[in-house]
Symmetry: C2
Subunit: 350 residues, 2 copies
Amino acid sequence: MPSEPKHRSSLKSNVARTTAADVARAAGVSISAVSRAFTANASIAKGTKTRVLKAADALGYQPNPLARGLITRRSGMIALLMTEVTNPFYPTVLETFARALSKRGKHVMLFTPAEDEPLEALLPRAFGYGVEGVVITSAKPTSEMMAACESAPVPVVLFNRTVESSAISAVCCDNEAGGRTIARFLAEGGRRRAAFVAGLAGASTSLYRERGFAAGLIEAGLSAPLRAEGHFTFDGGLKAAEHLLALEARPDAIFAANDIMALGVLDGLRRVGGLRVPEDIWVVGFDDIATAAWPSFGLTTFRQPINRMVAETLRILDLAETGAPGSPSTVLVPGRLIERGSTGALQPRS
Amino acid sequence: MPSEPKHRSSLKSNVARTTAADVARAAGVSISAVSRAFTANASIAKGTKTRVLKAADALGYQPNPLARGLITRRSGMIALLMTEVTNPFYPTVLETFARALSKRGKHVMLFTPAEDEPLEALLPRAFGYGVEGVVITSAKPTSEMMAACESAPVPVVLFNRTVESSAISAVCCDNEAGGRTIARFLAEGGRRRAAFVAGLAGASTSLYRERGFAAGLIEAGLSAPLRAEGHFTFDGGLKAAEHLLALEARPDAIFAANDIMALGVLDGLRRVGGLRVPEDIWVVGFDDIATAAWPSFGLTTFRQPINRMVAETLRILDLAETGAPGSPSTVLVPGRLIERGSTGALQPRS
């Protein structure tokens, strides 16, 4: 393959050489017209745009979004700061963002901290790249993080997190309503003694789900839930189940603050405790990750409407772009209960 | 919070105003010294670096990687083109890349096509951003894609994919050796009639795993494997199990080309077919995703060494950066068999 390296280097210099000015000259238009031809929704006559695109194609011109970003402050990049890429809820979130942004010609820059790196250390890096907005999905934003966000040069949205009395916008499933819905559902199903498996201490999602759940149980005339910690992990859920099984007065229903813990609870109850689900005990999760629907689990859960949550997040970022950022707001998107075998619903064959 | 918008706008103009030249003047050094102070591993005297960093801090200066990228052609960004973000193997890959790059002060730009968008359409966009390298994990790179890669202005590495007789570098687990190892293991375990569940038609990973598996069975004196298609999905695995159970001469072992299919096979055999695993039939997967180790599954699988695969990929991208790109190469990283309950190993309590 002797011609290959040559081809590569000649193309490299092409990319470096052809500029918007070359294209403008070839098409007989202004440089600004070239720029508008490559900007989605920019105002430009159809004939002019066609001429520019033809000339650009002939010359092998590629618009340089970096150079344009420096001038227009529109880099086309949105930063996603994520600490939990492997909890199966987040890959779906990431994919939904990436697809939605790709449609608008924009892209995700992913910031995931190295093991001992605080998340807030990544913010200045993201700003330095001229990202147009920042989305944060850290389980527990620190106060340093919040301070950095409040003085951010671009809009910042907390996704699936809220921070009370913060000036930062947030988009969340209505977690409290979700917890209350589950409590009511368990009470109506004749459950008398419910337990809650919490996520990471201090995570707003877990707190609000627990608050709604406890309130809902009491409203239904039941006592406040038993409690265990599961740290938002499968192993944490498994250990929480063992802990709850060892209690003198066992629960007859367990609500875990996310699906991955609920699956651990299920496995703990069945494989370790030898219980039957739903005959001996019910289990409910929160998220509706794909695994919840697998025949081995058939987990009843509260579905988070990821598509709508992502759409709301982009709406906030877009609004801010127009020059009218609006006041920071918290958007609560309603979710819904999905009944499956772990609470006695007939399990459909998939 | 009346002071908040004011704070935001004053910070915005600060970011825009302070330049490397300001910092150089304040620190009494050259602009190039400022640049070196902010570049990892650049040659600069310790005292000079300290002075620059102090001056930068006092002035609120943030180096602008975009501007630097335009000059040095080092944007600090690596493009990851991924089509399957939600197959649980890939989030781990993504996280491993993001963490490793973050340590080097570099970041992942994620390119995931919208539903009807061909992956190769994203390549020019990535090049336009001045990314330093491209990593592709598409299941089936098209020939258009390969042509675009061969004339790429920056190094491109196929991750977990190979394309025969291509000039593009690739990093893969040794899939053929993996398939052969599994065949040998099944034969030594007394299995007489094995089946293979293939992934997407044309995916190199599935092809090489099947090739090694078939060769290994024949070398062990068994016949070539029965076969079903599972499209690399859980539901595909479930349906493949139903298909294999309907055969007159059922298999006594099933190897699925990835874990997510193998888990579908397991659920199909047990929940739909009423078989016991491993008593009636063995199941083996490939990847070692976290779910494989859950008590409900205890899936024997062939572990892909993601850390080493990512390290090899970065090595290729780094090498190319030094100006000595080297010839395109395919790096095969050895994996290893992890025995669990689905082939009769004692299942440890987690």
